[in-house]
């Protein structure tokens, strides 16, 4: 009898031990329940803790952010900043829930094209009275416009990137085509002709990664004077598709469907997906964001010679639409002034440069942009920096109803047009007629 009970006793002891360990783990996982009603808190010693949700994700960028937070914390024992890493992938849903629940971070890293709903919804603080004059003057008006909604400013635009052509330098050199510079870029027509010259057997002059065709098309169309969205005096927005709006879509369409100088298979791809073909010598050029250089440096085969070229210019020169990364303050934060002071520290010119280098992007600040580190030939920083003055607010980001117009109307319409399934007239009809029906619902 005694021996029969021993295994059972043993089992009970093991189960009890496991339960105890689990209980301890659970205790360890409890703790701050964050019931303060906002991201921040004040300790009994009067110390303020601000929560800063950053979306930095690349190693150098995360390191730069963490170092700056540490420097701030060391210099400001009364206002400590807690660094929280968020994710670009899910930031909108996460912020929306946090705002609704009154638990949003105090300082919010996001992009200007994601701010409209939060700004109009009253979740973000108007920064006009909070930011110091130094920062207001450091960032040019064209950048402030990207984060201005109605009369208020709801984010500090601090990093941005132009769309550039990443080119196979050896291929271009051997072909003998003129190499464009920011001072003397290709026109859209010249670009089309050159890609025709570069095409070969199973090789293409360009590979357009247009998984998200709408923002790429609209932003590049600014160079040709395209606007698509026209705001009337009464504030109502109307979709039009004029001659200037046709330039970029027609070039892409003709390269793919008429000239066969652009690969049709990359139209549904993201930027990273085109890189294997680019490295393998299938495409002479790939239009990508300036920050893709980091991936190219990391992944390009040894000896692969690449260079950054400006995107083609149109009637309005090299103008491009961008949606810069922004820093905002939650309206519910009880420590808005302190949060603004932290943003001011984080975006001092020398710090903005560190953040820009970490993210392989361009700073918006004028002094930061003049930093020698951003004018080097290495990795073609100088080419990108020369484009900064041409960057403007993306045409669609303050248009209410734009996300629905983009998803339901414009994305399928552009995809079908680029692949040759519909004509330019059909594209116009869908963008304008169907599009205005969508926008009308948001402007009643």
């Amino acid at each position: 009898m005694h021996t029969r009970f021993r295994p059972a006793l043993m089992r009970t002891r093991i189960l009890l031990a496991l339960a105890a360990v689990f209980g301890l783990l659970l205790t360890g996982c409890t703790g701050d329940n964050g019931g303060s009603g906002s991201g921040s808190g004040s300790g009994s010693d009067g110390r303020i803790t601000l929560r800063f949700q950053s979306l930095a994700w690349q190693k150098e960028s995360v390191e730069a952010n963490k170092e700056l937070v540490e420097e701030w914390n060391a210099a400001h024992p009364d206002v400590q900043v807690e660094y929280v890493q968020g994710s670009w992938d899910s930031v909108h849903d996460q912020l929306l829930t946090s705002f609704e629940g009154g638990e949003a971070p105090d300082i919010i890293h996001d992009a200007s094209d994601d701010l409209a709903d939060f700004a109009y919804g009253g979740y973000l603080a108007d920064l006009r009275e909070l930011l110091p004059q130094r920062l207001r003057e450091e960032i040019p008006d064209r950048s402030w416009e990207t984060a201005t909604f109605g009369d208020g400013i709801y984010g500090v635009p601090f990093l941005q990137e132009p769309r550039v052509l990443i080119a196979n330098a050896t291929w271009l050199k051997e072909s003998g085509v003129r190499i464009p510079t920011p001072e003397k870029p290709w026109s859209w027509e010249e670009f089309r002709q050159i890609t025709k010259e570069l095409r070969g057997d199973g090789r293409y002059g360009v590979a357009w990664p247009l998984k998200e065709p709408v923002s790429a098309t609209l932003n590049l169309s600014l160079s040709a004077g395209g606007r698509i969205f026209h705001r009337g005096e009464d504030g109502r927005v109307e979709v039009r598709f004029d001659t200037a709006d046709e330039v970029v879509p027609r070039t892409v369409h003709d390269q793919v469907a008429t000239d066969r100088s652009a690969s049709g298979t990359t139209l549904g791809m993201g930027g990273s997906d085109t890189l294997p073909g680019f490295f393998a010598g299938k495409y002479a050029m790939v239009p990508l964001g300036f920050s893709y250089r980091q991936q190219i440096v990391q992944q390009a085969p040894k000896g692969f010679d690449w260079q950054v070229l400006p995107a083609p210019a149109g009637a309005d020169g090299l103008t491009q639409g961008v949606s810069p990364q922004t820093l905002s303050i939650a309206e519910d934060s009880p420590h808005k002034k302190e949060a603004a002071r932290f943003i001011d520290f984080l975006l001092r010119p020398e710090n903005m440069v560190r953040l820009a280098l970490g993210d392989w992007m361009l700073p918006t600040g004028k002094k930061a942009l003049s930093d020698p580190a951003l004018h080097t030939e290495k990795y073609d920083w100088a080419t990108g920096t020369a484009l900064a003055e041409h960057l403007r607010s993306a045409p669609a980001q303050s248009v209410r109803g734009y996300p629905e117009w983009k998803d339901k109307v414009a994305t399928p319409a552009f995809q079908e047009y680029y692949s040759g399934a519909i004509t330019l007239d059909e594209l116009r009809e869908r963008l304008v007629e169907d599009g205005n029906l969508v926008l009308a619902r948001y402007q009643r």
Partner: protein
């Protein structure tokens, strides 16, 4: 018996179909493993290979250097084990009653279980967030466990009702005839036959909690509380650009606990099922 015998070609066809299905299931996982050991240049190759040409552990090192994977795994483990245990403890007596008592209430409960599966996450997340905030359970793993239990309970219940129904009521009657009381019958007769079902249900609750992303993303605020699926998204940047090597390495490690748990328990599930079949 001869009618049940399958012809050789048919048997071969079955095996081919099974093999194709296994390949279909295994492909993403094998690709993940392959990616986890590839250096960046191989990841951008136009002609990718199954076996890395120049295998490296650098992706694993980078993943551990950049993100608190161990802490996140511990949080995930506590949340998943907690959710699985509590869900089974709550669901078992409910399932027994629903299976054995064919009352209007039991039928209504079964209907409600089915309907509750139709609610999407986004519909409940904001009210849930507010309720948990009132209970001061935001940013705590116990709060997350509570959500996972509630989320897993309907399906766990549904599964267990089926298992309870499969246990012949005659066995309980026989035990009663032999003088066993209700509790003794449940503990000594029903529970052993239900063991595989309990294990399968716990496994379901464990895996769904282990993989869950959205609730964890919204409910956990501080880095030290975050679970593995949330931390994995930190390897993904804007416009879907990802640090593929470290992401694959971390994702590969994240799948291991589920595989290990399943490998250990699988034998028990099948043996338990067979035992039940013989007794009935």
């Amino acid at each position: 018996m001869s009618m049940l015998r399958t012809s050789r070609p048919a048997r071969a066809g079955q095996y081919v179909a099974l093999l194709a299905y296994l390949v279909f299931l295994a492909f993403p996982f094998l690709w993940l493993v392959s990616t986890a050991f590839k250096p960046p240049r191989e990841l951008a190759s136009l002609h990718p290979t199954w076996i890395p040409k120049d295998p490296t552990l650098a992706n694993f090192r980078q993943a551990f250097d950049e993100q608190p994977l161990l802490g996140a795994a511990l949080n995930s483990l506590v949340a998943a084990i907690g959710a699985a245990l509590i869900a089974v403890v709550i669901a078992t007596p409910m399932a027994y009653v629903m299976a054995r008592r064919r009352t209007l209430l039991a039928r209504a409960a079964t209907g409600w279980v089915v309907v509750s599966q139709a609610f999407p996450f986004v519909l409940v997340i904001i009210p849930l967030f507010l309720v948990l905030k009132e209970l001061r359970l935001i940013n705590s793993v116990p709060g997350l466990i509570m959500v996972y239990v509630v989320w897993a309970l309907p399906f766990a219940l549904w599964m267990l009702v089926g298992y309870v129904r499969a246990v012949p009521a005659e066995l309980e009657e026989a035990a009663a005839v032999d003088g066993a009381g209700r509790v003794r019958t449940l503990v000594s007769v029903v529970a052993p036959l239900l063991a595989p079902g309990l294990v399968a249900t716990a496994l379901f609750a464990f895996i769904s909690a282990w993989n869950e992303f959205f609730f964890a993303l919204v409910l956990l605020k501080t880095p030290e509380k975050q679970t593995l699926p949330v931390v994995l998204t930190h390897f993904i940047g804007a416009e879907g650009v990802a640090d593929l090597g470290p992401l694959a390495a971390a994702a590969f490690l994240a799948t291991l606990p589920s595989l290990v748990v399943f490998a250990i328990i699988q034998k028990r599930i099948t043996s338990g099922m067979l035992a039940g079949a013989v007794k009935s």
